[in-house]
Symmetry: D2
Subunit: 346 residues, 4 copies
């Protein structure tokens, strides 16, 4: 059994890692690190873990990490991993960062969108962007993974095949994202207060969501050309689930059936991508609790646009599940080891 | 007091008319017509009406209608009004049809999208499209109103000013719609069964929603030029509420602030349109139970696109509220008579 | 038009008063008092009020209140009214306190349950408990109303008739309460954070809810004998709505039908009480947004127990609606003036 | 690997069995039997199973069952198992019936509450009631399990210890049940139609729920004395989750702490029972997706009553999870084999 530590042990990303790793045959969580909750047993904060995880949280002690664990998951808010990873990167540890700190190659872009200083360039350069299906080889040989954001995971898995195969124009791509509210994190605010969030749809951070530069960077990388997109995000009154509806201008005459076949071929080795049949569209509930990404495709002949919908569970494929999927590959295991669960339905 | 009959007395549109008209100072519902529930008291089907409406439903009797009421609201599913209105249109009655039967000027287009024969051309020609803020003069002198659909109301109110004032290209307009599930009507289905609809977002009728030709017809009318758009619809786990996020290519250099001013000017006489300040976006809950349409605006400089979000209550401004608003104007009353309610928050 | 001030202008009770009073023919809100938000326009905190209420909030200035308004609603958290009312009670003002500060006749009991010093005894003695249907005469001649709590409103309206008519034993009454989360107020907490509250039922404050002594005091008053009850409360994943299911031991042989008739007779003058037919039970949605209290009754012959279910909207009949209902009576108006709305369904 | 068939392959109980058994190390589903959907692949009805279960459903063929599988789960509505089990009981098969057909020992009582003829007495007599923690020994040696109902599982696990240890009177026990709507099954109805079920609490089947005789039978069996209880059920706007709040008269002077210790001792060998600390109460979300039953306890000194709250996931410990737990014991495996999952939170 390889051992893992989780830094930032009390956020939703962390407890989702704990849930998913609970029955992993080769990896166990042996350390939960949280400065603010140091000394607390995790189940005292999260009663659902009673009898399952009596782990006591501890402070971060870099020196002991290398000796005690093999893998470090970082599940902290933005701005924290950038200070921790430099201290870990030369140690004999695999590092998986679930935050946005190492996703953007340009420090200036990070600063512009996150409003903070970025990680050192050298650290950023070492990190491999863990969009597993797209960068499988790089992930397999990586030591440091920068785990993608939730919206980018859905948007990129939905768009990259069509872009790479030159079906669509890189100009004017529109991505309309909808997310369950666990995506906002664990801190209560007026916006996420149940009476105000329930039965409500609210667009937020329009034009300024930190996932915009991330989506653009990896779309640009796909065709080696600067791509600018729109990504809007809407809070939806559900706990989990995320779906991006993507609109792009077709630059060839092609049928829905043909695009579906193209996507099926593109993803045929990928256990967690399900390309739906013609006329079917993905429901977020159909992937709930699992690492799947369901993709629905429609060629709108009337407007010559391609419409793609890509649904994930924002905490699983959008965070902890993809982190474990990457970790599996980094360790030479099957990508679905410990992750092969049936979605929770209903 | 003028008197109204409601045909199709047991759908959500009908009971919303009843709720909104309950305290209308000049209009009262005196007749509820439902063939399938004839003889039943409305409160036996809808216990929330106990003590409030002891109206007994009756069969449709065209001859007596003219003598007994002044206004007829038709709140039936598609395909019914088209057979009833021809029989009513020459009588001394005002007619407000909440269904889609008279919205499309072309009988062929209706047939293509609704899969049924359309109403007689002559009847369609007489009907005035009741998008109140846009067609106020025509509504005031109308005898027959074709009340707009819920998505078109939101999409058109959001898009028409920018299109009319030539801010945006008519090509490539994308409208991403999200609706609460009351929009699907009263009939239970697998999709709307609570365990399956709850905590779930599902795109539906992609590329084939009957509101597509309606939105296109009125956008085209605005600039006297054929406009083709995309309109997608997503079921959201909430009871009421509808928001369209609209994306269009700007064809001039303009700021968010300037577009907001243009919309404020455009709608300055309109009591039910609220144009939000820069940086603010509409929440569907903020208009819940009321006839307001809240509009948020963002110029995305990076992609030269205009993003508009328009939120309504699908049963009020998207149906019954707009029907009453139109009826008020048809009768020479203030447009907000009986409708000036504060949204129900939270 | 009589004028009203609301102290505590930013809580849910306050904005519900504003919503309900918006179309009141004889009463208007002219002053919104909030120390913490003084200087702010209410619609900047609550966008749903845009165009409807441009009231600017002000600090409390007792001297000017008497001159400027006729009625003062106090919608503050517990512990505030007790310091304000003594300063207002000798002025020419009607006072309606929505908090718990004046409901309990014993200062010691208040201190035990609320953990704070109580209001002066003299102030408490002047306040009339505003459970309208039960204490109608006292309310009509009152100057100061202590508006009941939400659970007590439902529990007392459901239980008092059976207790007063000696159908049930005063021993062992069990009241199982379920409430929508707006009942927890406006302050975000971990418990009311949407991802944690959604799809979750949670019993809270078991054995220590401040509504327990209130329910007991008024049940005891009904039969002039000390009554001890159980009242449990459960948070339900909905915005509004409250239902108490009440269990009491029958002390006579009686049928469901007979108990229903007894309740119908008891409440026959009361416009807002709806006693359901045999076999029907109240849904909280059927009273949503309205001042109704729906009561369902069942005699369980197998166990000789009476089961009553009483459903209200916690913000309306459980707070603001009942406050206005009481105000109407205090001013010699019909009890349903401005309140005669149809519930919002669905 | 032992093989299982599921009869009634398309209900929520069946697909929950499929989900939970997916990673069971010793048991796999090899046959899904559904008369109405015979010939269909399960994933065509339930897209969430795409890529996971390509099982084609077949008709029931009793002769082949014995040869092809070792265990038969029956997940049909009431009234079906009673006709199937007699044909299976003499075959070399283990049978687990998730319906109510074999739970009641008296055929007359079954007929009175279910409105149908009961199974043959001989079949009923052979079935062991699978309330695992209480009847562990009987389950281990059973060939036919009658899996308990959801409300009874929660109510009995919550009440039996106190009753058995004579802490409470068997008279006047009140059980107030609250359930998520998946408990109502898969068939859409007006009541479970999302717009009507959402944001709504509704008591249903008061006094006539089929789980009443079941709870009474097993409480009676515990103390070998006829126990009559009240069990009410309320539909709650959530997908999964069930909690019973139980009220019983104490017949001794005892503290909350002491009762908690008694329950902890009673259940100390039971992996799936979590007795909470004093002052803590179970949230249904804390057991979501898992086989746990969380129990909270409160001695109400003021009224001399014991209050117990017992929370489960109605589809897991209330149905499929308990069925697998029983199957594990029947086969000499650890009771948590394949079931040791962390609840899905949030």
């Amino acid at each position: 059994m390889r051992k893992a530590a989780i830094i930032g042990g009390t956020g939703y990303g962390a407890i989702e890692l704990i849930r998913l790793l609970h029955n992993h045959p080769k990896l166990e969580v042996t350390k939960a690190i949280s400065h603010s909750q140091s000394g607390e047993v995790l189940s005292s904060i999260y009663p659902h873990l009673e009898k399952l995880h009596e782990i006591k949280m501890v402070d971060l002690d870099i020196k002991s990490l290398e000796a005690e664990v093999d893998i470090v998951f970082i599940a902290t808010p933005a701005g924290v991993a950038k200070t921790i990873v430099p201290d870990l990167q030369d140690l004999d540890l695999q590092i998986v960062d679930l935050s946005g700190d190492l996703r953007l190659s340009s420090r200036d872009v990070y600063k512009e969108w996150y409003g903070k200083e970025a990680a050192p360039q050298e650290t950023i350069n070492q990190a491999v962007y863990g969009l597993t299906e797209i960068y499988k080889e790089e992930v397999q040989s990586a030591k440091i993974i920068s785990n993608p954001g939730c919206f980018p995971t859905s948007a990129l898995l939905g768009t990259i095949p069509a872009l790479e195969k030159e079906l669509i124009s890189p100009k004017g791509i529109v991505i309309d994202g909808k997310t369950g509210i666990s995506g906002a994190g664990r801190t209560p605010t007026g916006t996420t207060h149940f009476p105000e969030a329930n039965d409500n749809v609210l667009p937020y951070k329009i034009g300024r969501h930190q996932h915009i530069p991330e989506v653009e960077q990896y779309l640009s990388k796909t065709i080696d050309e600067q791509v600018t997109t729109i990504l809007t995000t809407h809070l939806i009154p559900m706990t989990r689930g995320l779906i991006c509806t993507i609109y792009a201008e077709l630059n060839q005459d092609i049928t829905t059936k043909e695009v579906i076949e193209l996507y099926e071929t593109y993803y045929k080795e990928d256990k967690f991508i399900r390309v739906l049949n013609e006329g079917e569209f993905p429901a977020t509930k159909a992937v709930q609790g699992s690492n799947f990404c369901d993709i629905g495709i429609w060629v709108d002949k009337r407007s010559d646009q391609l419409i793609i919908a890509a649904a994930i569970d924002n905490l699983v494929k959008g965070a902890a599940g993809q982190a474990i999927q990457n970790t599996n590959l980094m360790n030479g295991w099957e990508e679905d080891l410990g992750l092969a669960a049936v979605p929770m339905y209903p």
